[in-house]
């Protein structure tokens, strides 16, 4: 081996070989398909979905999840109950200020209930 050869030269050559090994078959397949197989695109073949069914309409539709309704009703019926229980237990020994604060809290949630009721969320359709 000559003295002035870069030691990394062989690594580079091996890398080239590895890349050629990977890309060679792909290139061969491409050349083969160019030479022999005529391209035959079609409406079905270019279709987006592969389940056999024809897609209906546009896939880019807006989906209305309305999670805020679940959040409001969850607050009213679940979270409020958690606060109402200690409120009921400690009711007789409560100062007036605490009572007013609790009533305001309950009324805020009742407002949400009234709103949801008027919107027809509670009606089973």
């Amino acid at each position: 081996m000559p003295v002035n050869t870069d030691p990394y030269l062989f690594v580079f050559l091996l890398l080239l070989g590895a890349v050629a090994f990977a890309l060679g078959p792909l290139a061969l397949a491409w050349v083969w398909s160019r030479c022999f197989s005529p391209r035959k695109p079609g409406a079905d073949k270019n279709a987006i979905y592969e389940c056999g069914l024809k897609s209906k309409g546009d896939a880019w539709v807006q989906f209305k999840a309305e999670y805020y309704l679940y959040a409001i009703i969850f607050l009213i019926f679940d979270v409020e109950a958690i606060f109402l229980l200690p409120f009921a237990v400690a009711f007789t020994g409560l100062p007036v200020g605490a009572f007013v604060a609790m009533v305001i809290f309950v009324l805020l949630l009742v407002e949400g209930l009234v709103w949801a009721w008027q919107k027809g969320v509670l009606t089973w359709k």
């Binding site: 022999f36 197989s37 005529p38 035959k40 079609g42 409406a43 079905d44 073949k45 279709a47 592969e50 389940c51 056999g52 069914l53 024809k54």
Partner: protein, 202 residues
């Protein structure tokens, strides 16, 4: 190259082949079927691909979930008239070259449900079938035999000339008309390019 020279060379330890043979050899040993079953025959197809019958010996264990990566459609089971358009559409979505094995009595003729108003009397009315397997359901060995038959068929296909297969002809169709639900039956009731009603001589 003539056969005598090839024999002489192989006796000297020199293996000769043609591009066509090499190509078909690769093709026939790497057929990827579409993972697609319609009825009870699909269970036999699954059994064929599993350890006991081991379809992997033929290079065909890679059942593809997408028609875009599949070479072979095994129509395994009863094709109802409701399912037929989907089967044809899936076949259309497969890239060329593509092959079809009609597995079982239902897929080849309607089988025990032939009299049913809703059963297609053979998938070969809409798509070109390469190998038909009778049986209800066929044994896994029968599917293996059909598979070997298909391999032999692929092996004999020529790359050039008039007899070359459909996928090498630019004007031959790759997609086949998908039947639609009509008032009484699928319309059209068959694809005249691949099937015509048998003539009865009395």
């Amino acid at each position: 190259m003539d056969e005598g020279l090839r024999n002489e060379l192989s006796r000297q330890g020199i293996f000769t082949t043609t591009l066509e043979d090499l190509y078909n050899w690769g093709r026939k040993n790497s057929i990827w079927p579409l993972g697609f079953g319609l009825a009870c025959c699909a269970i036999e197809m699954i059994a064929t691909s599993m350890a006991r019958w081991d379809l992997a010996r033929f290079g065909a264990e890679v059942f593809r979930p997408s028609p875009r990566q599949a070479d072979l459609m095994i129509v395994a089971g009863t094709v109802t008239k409701k399912m037929a358009p989907q089967v044809v559409r899936l076949y259309n979505q497969m890239p060329e070259p593509k092959y079809v094995i009609a597995m079982g009595a239902c897929a080849i003729s309607g089988g025990p449900f032939k009299q049913g108003y809703n059963v297609l009397k053979g998938i070969d009315r809409y798509i070109p079938v390469d190998v038909h397997i009778p049986g209800c359901p066929p044994r896994p060995e029968a599917l293996l035999h059909a598979f070997m038959t298909l391999q032999r068929k692929i092996d004999e296909q020529a790359l050039t000339g008039e007899a070359r297969p459909r996928h090498l002809k630019a004007d031959a169709p790759s997609e086949f008309p998908v039947p639609a639900f009509g008032e009484h039956d699928l319309e059209p009731a068959n694809n005249p390019a691949v099937w015509s009603p048998p003539v009865v001589n009395r």
